[in-house]
C-alpha cells in the first residue's frame, strides 16, 4: 500500500491566527528566490499562502512570493522532499513561472471562488486579498495575502502586471541574461541558418532538380519574413521570382521544403493576391515546379486556409478547411477554460457536460483537419505527385501541415534531432511569427504599435502542431523517438523566453538582435534546463531496434509511411499537456506513463542481460573466474502517478475524498430520456 504512505504536505493555514505568524515572520525574511545571472527582484510579499489547486477545503502552503524580471517565484517556508518529485527545471523552480508564461491575472477575495480580471495598466485595489494566475500552459496558481503585511499583495500584483506584459521586445529577460553560453548542440541537428544547411537537406532528400538561391538575402529580397536561403525549381530565374512575388501575399512564392528521391516535392506558398496577373504568375511558377519533377508530373495545390479555401477544401478529401487564426484562438480559449477550472465544484460541473464543452471548443476538429490535410498531402507525395500547400501568409497552417506531412513520410523527422531540425526549418527559418502568435511585443516596435497592425493575431498555431504530433505519437507508439513528455516540455518552453528559439518573428529580426550583441541560446541545449534523468524521459523506449519481421508486418517497409486516423472520432484530448494540473484526475499507477516506464525498465533489463552475457563470455574465454556475476536485479520502477513527471506528488489526497466524487453523481433525472423509463419495471 505504497500510495497510502504519501505524505500530505498541504496544511491548512488559512485560519491560522496572526499571533502564530509572529514567530514565523522572522524566518520569512530568510527566504530568497534563486536568481539567475542578471535577474533582479522587483517585488516581494511574505507570509503568502499558496492554495492547493482544486482543494476542497482551504489548504495551502506558507511561503514568500517574489516577482523578478524573469519569473514569478514562490518559495515555501517548509520545503518537502515531495517537491522534488517529477521534472525539475534548473532555471525555473517547481513553483516558479517565467513571466512570459503568465497568461491572465485575477484578483480574488482570498479564496479560489470569486474573482475579477486584472488587466495590464489597470488599477489594483490597495487591499488585495488574493491573486490568481492562469498560466499559458494551463497551470493555475492561487495566492492568499490575508496574513501578509498590508499592501504587499498589491505590490506583487503591480510588479507582475508591469513586468509580465512588457511593452518592448528588448525588455524581455533574454536580453538581460548574463550567463555565458557554450553551445553543445548535437551535430546531427540542422539549424537551417546558412545556405550550407539547406544544401545538406537537399542532398539528404536526394533532390537534384532544385536549386538554392540567396536572392532573399540581398537588397532584392522579396520574402521579408523568411531567411536568406530559399530553394526553388532549378529552372526558375531569380528575376522571375522577384516578378512573381508581387502576386503572392508576403511575397511567398512556392518554395521547396522537402522532397523524395523519386521526384515529388513538398512546397509551401502564400495565398495569391487579387491582382490581375496573379493567376498567370502562379501558373508560370507551377509550371516550373512541374519541370522540376523528373516525370514532369504537374503538382497538386492544397488550399489549407484562406480565401481560396472553400473551393480547395472540397478537393482535399472533404477535410474542413482550417479556420482563420482568430477562430483558432477562440477555440483554444474555450479549451483552456475547460482545462482550468478553479474550484472543485466547477471541476465536477464541467465534468458532467465535458463532451459538449469539448465539442463546442472545436479544438479537436481543427486538430483532425490538420491531420486530414497532412494525410492527403502524404498520399499525393507517396504517389509521386508534388504538393504545394497554400495558405494566407504561408507561415502558419502551412507550417503545421508541412511538418505533419514530413512526419508521416520521413522517418528521420521522428527522431529527436530530426524533429528539432524540422522545427528549425519550418518554423524558425521560414519565419513563423512567434512574437505575434504568442502575444509578445515585436522587436523594434512597442506593443501598442504592434497591436494596431492587423496581422498581429495571437494564435496557438505551434501548439496545434504539437497537439497533432501527439496524436500521431499516440496512434503509432513505436514510431517516434520522443515521448509525450518531450512534447509537453517543449510546449512549456515555448513560454520560457530565456531562449531565443521562439523569441522572434523571423530570421531577419534575430539577425538584427545578434548584430547588437544578443546572445542566441537555442532551446535544443536541453542540458541547460534539465538533468540527465529528466532528459531520459524524453526518449521513447519503444522506438527503434525493431526486428525485421515486425517491420514487414506493420507495413513500415513502404518508406515508413504512417497512415493516421484523421477523423474527429480518432483524435483525443492531450491529457498530459492540458489536464496535468488537475489533481482530482491524478492517480498512482495510472495512465500512459506506466507503459513508458515499464518499457524503459524492460529495456534496462535487456541491457543488463546483454552486459552480463558479454561479461560471461569474457570470463569463459579467460577462465580465471575470480569475479562473481549477479543476476540482473529488476530495477525497481517507482510508483508514479498519471501525470508524471508533471504532477506534484502530495498536492492531492490519494484516497480521494469520496464525498466530493458524489458531487459528480449527476442528478438522476438528467440521465433519463423520459419519465416513463423511470417507472418501467426493473
Amino acid at each position: 500500500m505504497n500510495e497510502k504512505k504519501l505524505v500530505q504536505n498541504f496544511k491548512s493555514y488559512i485560519n491560522v491566527s496572526p499571533m502564530n505568524n509572529g514567530d514565523k515572520n522572522g524566518s520569512f525574511q530568510e527566504l530568497k528566490p534563486k536568481l539567475l545571472n542578471g535577474e533582479l527582484v522587483v517585488g516581494a510579499a511574505h507570509s503568502v499562502v499558496m492554495l492547493a489547486p482544486l482543494s476542497e477545503r482551504d489548504r495551502g502552503r506558507f511561503g514568500s512570493l517574489f516577482v523578478t524580471n524573469y519569473k514569478l517565484s514562490f518559495i515555501p517556508i517548509d520545503s518537502s522532499s515531495n517537491d522534488e518529485y517529477g521534472q525539475r527545471n534548473q532555471l525555473v523552480g517547481t513553483f516558479d513561472v517565467p513571466l512570459t508564461g503568465v497568461g491572465a491575472l485575477w484578483q480574488t477575495d482570498g479564496g479560489p471562488i470569486r474573482r475579477r480580471r486584472l488587466l495590464p495598466r489597470s488599477d489594483v485595489p490597495s487591499k488585495l486579498k488574493g491573486l490568481q494566475i492562469v498560466c499559458k500552459n494551463m497551470k493555475v496558481l492561487t495566492f492568499n495575502f490575508a496574513n501578509s503585511p498590508i499592501g504587499s499583495g498589491r505590490k506583487v500584483a503591480m510588479a507582475l502586471l508591469h513586468h509580465a506584459f512588457p511593452k518592448r521586445h528588448d525588455l524581455l529577460f533574454a536580453f538581460e541574461y548574463r550567463e555565458p553560453y557554450y553551445p553543445t548542440l548535437p551535430s546531427d541537428l540542422n539549424m537551417f541558418q546558412r545556405p550550407g544547411d539547406w544544401k545538406r537537406e537537399l542532398e539528404r532528400c536526394e533532390c537534384p532538380h532544385w536549386r538554392i538561391t540567396c536572392i532573399n538575402g540581398t537588397s532584392d529580397a522579396f520574402m521579408l519574413t523568411a531567411g536568406e536561403t530559399l530553394i526553388v525549381p532549378g529552372s526558375v530565374l531569380d528575376y522571375n521570382l522577384i516578378e512573381a512575388a508581387r502576386h503572392f501575399r508576403s511575397g511567398r512564392v512556392p518554395i521547396w521544403v522537402w522532397g523524395r528521391p523519386e521526384g515529388a516535392a513538398l512546397l509551401r506558398s502564400g495565398e495569391l493576391l487579387p491582382t490581375e496577373q496573379s493567376a498567370t504568375a502562379e501558373s508560370v511558377l507551377l509550371e516550373q515546379v512541374r519541370r522540376s519533377h523528373p516525370k514532369l508530373t504537374p503538382p497538386r495545390v492544397l488550399y489549407v486556409c484562406g480565401a481560396g479555401g472553400a473551393a480547395g477544401a472540397a478537393g482535399a478529401g472533404g477535410a474542413g478547411a482550417l479556420p482563420p487564426l482568430a477562430a483558432l484562438d477562440a477555440a483554444y480559449k474555450k479549451l483552456a477554460d475547460l482545462c482550468t477550472p478553479t474550484t472543485l465544484a466547477g471541476f465536477w460541473t464541467q465534468d458532467s457536460q465535458y463532451y459538449s464543452f469539448l465539442e463546442s471548443s472545436r479544438w479537436l476538429r481543427h486538430v483532425a483537419s490538420c491531420l486530414t490535410f497532412a494525410d492527403e498531402a502524404a498520399t499525393q507525395l507517396s504517389q509521386n505527385v508534388s504538393v504545394v500547400l497554400q495558405e494566407g501568409d504561408g507561415v502558419d497552417y502551412s507550417a503545421v501541415v508541412s511538418c505533419l506531412t514530413q512526419l508521416l513520410l520521413d522517418e528521420h523527422y521522428r527522431t529527436i534531432s530530426g524533429f528539432q531540425s524540422l522545427i528549425q526549418k519550418e518554423w524558425i527559418a521560414l519565419g513563423h511569427p512567434f512574437c505575434d502568435r504568442l502575444g509578445l511585443p515585436r522587436p523594434g516596435t512597442t506593443k501598442e504599435e504592434t497591436e494596431k497592425e492587423p496581422t498581429a493575431q495571437v494564435a496557438p498555431v505551434f501548439l496545434l502542431f504539437l497537439d497533432c504530433t501527439w496524436q500521431l505519437q499516440r496512434q503509432f507508439p513505436a514510431a517516434f523517438q520522443f515521448t509525450e513528455t518531450y512534447l509537453t516540455t517543449l510546449w512549456d518552453c515555448t513560454h520560457n523566453h530565456l531562449f531565443d528559439t521562439f523569441l522572434f518573428n523571423c530570421p531577419r529580426d534575430r539577425e538584427l538582435a545578434v548584430a547588437k550583441n544578443f546572445v542566441q541560446r537555442p532551446l535544443w541545449d536541453w542540458e541547460e534546463q534539465f538533468s540527465e534523468q529528466d532528459i531520459a524521459l524524453f526518449y521513447n523506449p519503444l522506438f527503434g531496434q525493431s526486428t525485421p519481421s515486425s517491420r514487414q508486418t506493420t507495413g513500415a517497409a513502404r518508406a515508413g509511411r504512417l497512415q493516421p486516423c484523421a477523423s474527429v472520432g480518432g483524435v483525443e484530448l492531450w491529457s498530459q499537456c492540458y489536464e496535468r494540473w488537475l489533481p482530482p484526475l491524478d492517480a498512482p499507477r495510472a495512465g500512459h506513463v506506466q507503459f513508458v516506464l515499464q518499457h524503459a525498465a524492460l529495456r534496462a533489463q535487456i541491457q543488463k542481460l546483454n552486459e552480463k552475457l558479454s561479461s560471461l563470455s569474457i570470463l569463459s574465454r579467460h577462465s580465471n573466474g575470480s569475479e562473481t556475476t549477479e543476476a540482473p536485479e529488476a530495477s525497481p520502477t517507482p510508483t508514479v502517478t498519471r501525470f508524471f513527471p508533471f504532477s506534484l506528488r502530495g498536492t492531492y489526497e490519494v484516497s480521494r475524498n469520496l464525498d466530493s466524487m458524489h458531487v459528480s453523481l449527476i442528478d438522476a433525472s438528467q440521465l433519463l430520456d423520459s419519465q416513463s423509463l423511470l417507472n418501467a419495471p426493473d
Binding site: G320, D351, Y354, Y355, T379, Q475, F476, P477, A478, L542, S546, S550, Q552, T553, T554, Q563, C565, S567, G569, G570, E572, S575, E579, L582, L585, A587, R589, A590, H592, Q594, Q598, H599, L602, R603, L609, N610, L613, L619, S620, G625, T629, A631, A634, P636, R642, S655, L658, M661, S664, L665, I666, A668, L671, L672, D673, L677, L678, A680, P681, D682
Partner: protein, 626 residues
C-alpha cells in the same frame, strides 16, 4: 479507400487485422475468436467458409450483393450454417468484405424493398445485429430470390422460437482443458479463507429450493442458522438473501449481496432480516456500522415500494447506513446503448461526434457505476466497514457493482483465471439472467427484458484496464472475445438464466465452456506489461519482475473515462488502432527471455568449467530462471 488493396491483405498479417470483420485486435484476428478452430487459424484459404465441429451448411444463395457501408457493394455467395452467416465475395480484390457472423449475434432480420422496388440493390434483406452493426444484402429481383435464404436465416438464427436446439448443443470441439472446472465454489471460498470463525459454507440451497436463482453453495455468517436463513429468504425479493461475495483478507470486512427487502407501502419489517443484517455487521469486528449500498436512484427505490419492494429504513436497521448509488435500470441502459449504436454505426458524423457521445449518456452511466464501485471499495478498504449491495432483484446492477468492486480490491480477479472465476461466480452462479438479457436464439427482438448490463460491466472493466495498464494479466482482447461469445451461442457458458437451469439442461456435459477455448490460446490474451503476481498458487515463486499489487481506485471523471472504440467502432476500418503497442512489447519480452536463457546457459557453462578446475562456482542467477 486505397488502404485496403488485396496484395496488402494477402501479404501482411497486420493489415489483416485492419480489415478483419470480427475481432479487430491482433494479427490473427481475421479468423478471429468467432469462427476459428483451435490451432487452425491460418490453414484455410482466405475468405473461405471454415466449419466448426458440428457445423453444417444449411443454405446457399448465389448472386447476392453485400452492401458494405465502408467499401461499397460487393457481389458474392451467402451461406447459412447452423452456426453462422457467411458471405464470400466473388472478386478476390474485395476480400475485406468477407463476413462471418455467428447467428447468435443476429437480433432481427427484415426484408427490404419489394419485387417492384426501383433502383439498384433496393431488394434484399437486412440483418440487425446485437454487436452494433447492421448488414444489408441485395438480391436479384426475380423469382423471389431472397425467400429461401430469408426463411433459413429466420429458422437458424432463432432456434428457440422454432423449437430447435441452440448450436452450442451441436458443437463438439474438444480442448486440452475443460473450462467447466475453472470455477469451484468451495475452492474459491477457501481461497478467501471461508470457513472461518465468522463465516460458514452452507448447502441449504443444494436443491435450489430456498432460492431458485442463487447458486447451490453459499457463505453466510456462522451465527445464522438455517431457520434464520429461511425466514430471511421470505422477506427478500425472490428469496435472494444476503450472502457473501468477498471478504477482506486482513480486516474481515465483507461485501455481501442480495435483493431488495419486501417492505411495501405499509413499511413491513422482519425481525429475522434485521437480526441477520446485524450478524453480517458483527462478523466484522473492525466496524460498528454497515453500509447498505442501494444501486438504484432513490426515486426508483421508493417507486418499488408500490410493488411490494423497497429499501431498508435506517430506523429498522440500527447501525446501518443506506446510500443510493443512482444507477439506472436496464431500460435506460438499453436506450443509451441504442443511441451509441446510432452514433458509431455505420459512419461517424464528425460534426456532432462529441455531443453525440454526451447525448447517449453511455459514459455517464459508466461513470456512475465506477463511482459506485469506488465507494464500496473505499468503505471496505479504507474504513474497514462491511458493505451490503442490492438493487431491485440483485442480478443486474448488484452484479455490476460487486464484481467491479472485487476486481478493484482483489488482484486475483485481475489474472486471466481469476477473471473467469469472477464472471462464473458473480454473474453466472448468482443468476444474472443472460438468456433474458441477451435473448439467445429468440426472435422477440423488442423484448423489454433485453439489456446490455453485462456488456456495460465489461466496459467498466475496460475503463479500469485503460486507467491501470499494468494491473491486469489480460488485455482488452480477452474482453472483446468474451463479448463476442456472449452472443455467439457457440459455447454453453452464457446460456440460460440461472445455475439451476444450467444444471437441468446439462450444460456442463452437453456443451463446451468458453474458458476451454480461451485457456487453450492464453498467449493471445496475456498482457506483456502485467506487473502483478504471476501466479496465486503458493508453490510457485514470484517472478522477479513482479511487484505486489494494490487496490485500484479509478478516477470516475468523464475526462478520463473514454469511449471504447475498439468495441463500439470496430466495424469501421478507419477507426481502428493503428499500431498495437503490445506487438513491440512482446518482442522486447521475448528478447529478454532469450537473453535470460542464454545468460543462464552461459553461466552454467562457466560454472561447469570452474568446477572442472576445482574452483568454487560463482553464484549466478536465481534458480527459477537458470
Amino acid at each position: 479507400m486505397d488502404k485496403h488493396n488485396s496484395s496488402e491483405l494477402l501479404n501482411s498479417d497486420f493489415s489483416l487485422s485492419k480489415n478483419a470483420s470480427s475481432d479487430s485486435l491482433d494479427s490473427d484476428s481475421k479468423s478471429s475468436s468467432l469462427n476459428s478452430k483451435h490451432g487452425q487459424d491460418s490453414t484455410h484459404v482466405l475468405g473461405d467458409i471454415q466449419l466448426l465441429d458440428g457445423e453444417k451448411v444449411m443454405g446457399v444463395a448465389r448472386d447476392v450483393t453485400y452492401l458494405c457501408p465502408y467499401s461499397g457493394p460487393s457481389r458474392g455467395v451467402l451461406k447459412v450454417t447452423n452456426y453462422q452467416l457467411h458471405f464470400r465475395p466473388t472478386e478476390p480484390t474485395s476480400l475485406q468484405t468477407t463476413l462471418s457472423v455467428p447467428l447468435g449475434v443476429v437480433s432481427r432480420i427484415e426484408k427490404v424493398g419489394g419485387a417492384s422496388s426501383k433502383g439498384e440493390n433496393s431488394y434484399g434483406i437486412e440483418v440487425f445485429c446485437k454487436d452494433m452493426r447492421n448488414l444489408r444484402f441485395a438480391h436479384k429481383q426475380e423469382n423471389h430470390s431472397r425467400r429461401g435464404i430469408f426463411e433459413k436465416l429466420q429458422q437458424l438464427a432463432f432456434p428457440l422460437s422454432h423449437r430447435q436446439p441452440i448450436f452450442a448443443y451441436s458443437y463438439s470441439e474438444s480442448f486440452p482443458e475443460d473450462g467447466w472446472n475453472v470455477y469451484e465454489p468451495i475452492a474459491e471460498l477457501r481461497r478467501m479463507g471461508v470457513n472461518n470463525d465468522m463465516w460458514r459454507i452452507t448447502r441449504i440451497n443444494d436443491k435450489y429450493e430456498i432460492c431458485d436463482s442463487y447458486p447451490a453453495v453459499w457463505a453466510v455468517p456462522t451465527a445464522a442458522n438455517d431457520d434464520l436463513l429461511r425466514s430471511v429468504a421470505a422477506f427478500r425479493s425472490r428469496g435472494r438473501i444476503p450472502v457473501l461475495a468477498w471478504i477482506h483478507p486482513s480486516s474481515q470486512a465483507t461485501i455481501t449481496r442480495c435483493s431488495q427487502p419486501l417492505v411495501g407501502v405499509s413499511g413491513k419489517r422482519s425481525r429475522e432480516d434485521e437480526r441477520y443484517i446485524q450478524l453480517i455487521m458483527d462478523a466484522n469486528a473492525q466496524a460498528h456500522k454497515l453500509f447498505i449500498m442501494d444501486a438504484r436512484p432513490s426515486a426508483n427505490a421508493i417507486a418499488n415500494k408500490a410493488k411490494g419492494g423497497g429499501y431498508e429504513s435506517e430506523d429498522a436497521y440500527q447501525n446501518a447506513e443506506l446510500v443510493f448509488l443512482d444507477i439506472h435500470n436496464i431500460h435506460v441502459m438499453r436506450e443509451s446503448l441504442r443511441k451509441l449504436k446510432e452514433l458509431c454505426f455505420p459512419q461517424i458524423d464528425q460534426t456532432r461526434w462529441f455531443s453525440g457521445i454526451e447525448a447517449s449518456c453511455w459514459l455517464k452511466h459508466i461513470k456512475c457505476i465506477l463511482a459506485g464501485a469506488v465507494r464500496i471499495v473505499d468503505k471496505v478498504e479504507n474504513h474497514k466497514t462491511s458493505v451490503l449491495v442490492h438493487c431491485s432483484d440483485g442480478w443486474d446492477r448488484t452484479a455490476q457493482l460487486t464484481a467491479l468492486a472485487m476486481l478493484m480490491l482483489d488482484p486475483y480477479y485481475r489474472t486471466l483465471r481469476g477473471f473467469q472465476v469472477l464472471i462464473e461466480k458473480e454473474w453466472l452462479s448468482f443468476g444474472h439472467k443472460f438468456q433474458l438479457r441477451i435473448g439467445h436464439g429468440d426472435e422477440r427482438h423488442s423484448d423489454a427484458d433485453r439489456s446490455p448490463v453485462f456488456v456495460q460491466w465489461v466496459d467498466c472493466v475496460w475503463q479500469l484496464q485503460q486507467q491501470f495498464p499494468t494491473a491486469f494479466e489480460f488485455t482488452e482482447r480477452l474482453l472483446i472475445t468474451i463479448v463476442d461469445h456472449l452472443y455467439s451461442c457457440r459455447f454453453g457458458t452464457f446460456l440460460f438464466n440461472t445455475e439451476r437451469e444450467r444444471y437441468r439442461e446439462e450444460v456442463k456435459t452437453k456443451t463446451v465452456s468458453l474458458w476451454s477455448y480461451i485457456n487453450s490460446r492464453q498467449n493471445l490474451y496475456l498482457n506483456p506489461l502485467y506487473w502483478g503476481p504471476s501466479s496465486f498458487s503458493p508453490n510457485t515463486p514470484p517472478s522477479q519482475y513482479s511487484r505486489p499489487q494494490m487496490v485500484l481506485v479509478p478516477v470516475a471523471s468523464l475526462r478520463i473515462i473514454k469511449l471504447w472504440k475498439a468495441l463500439y467502432c470496430r466495424w469501421n476500418p478507419t477507426m481502428r488502432q493503428q499500431d498495437p503497442i503490445y506487438q513491440r512489447t512482446r518482442e522486447l519480452v521475448a528478447l529478454r527471455a532469450q537473453l535470460e536463457a542464454a545468460a543462464g546457459a552461459a553461466a552454467g557453462d562457466h560454472a561447469a568449467r570452474q568446477l572442472r578446475r576445482g574452483l568454487t562456482p560463482p553464484r549466478v542467477a536465481s534458480p527459477h530462471h537458470a
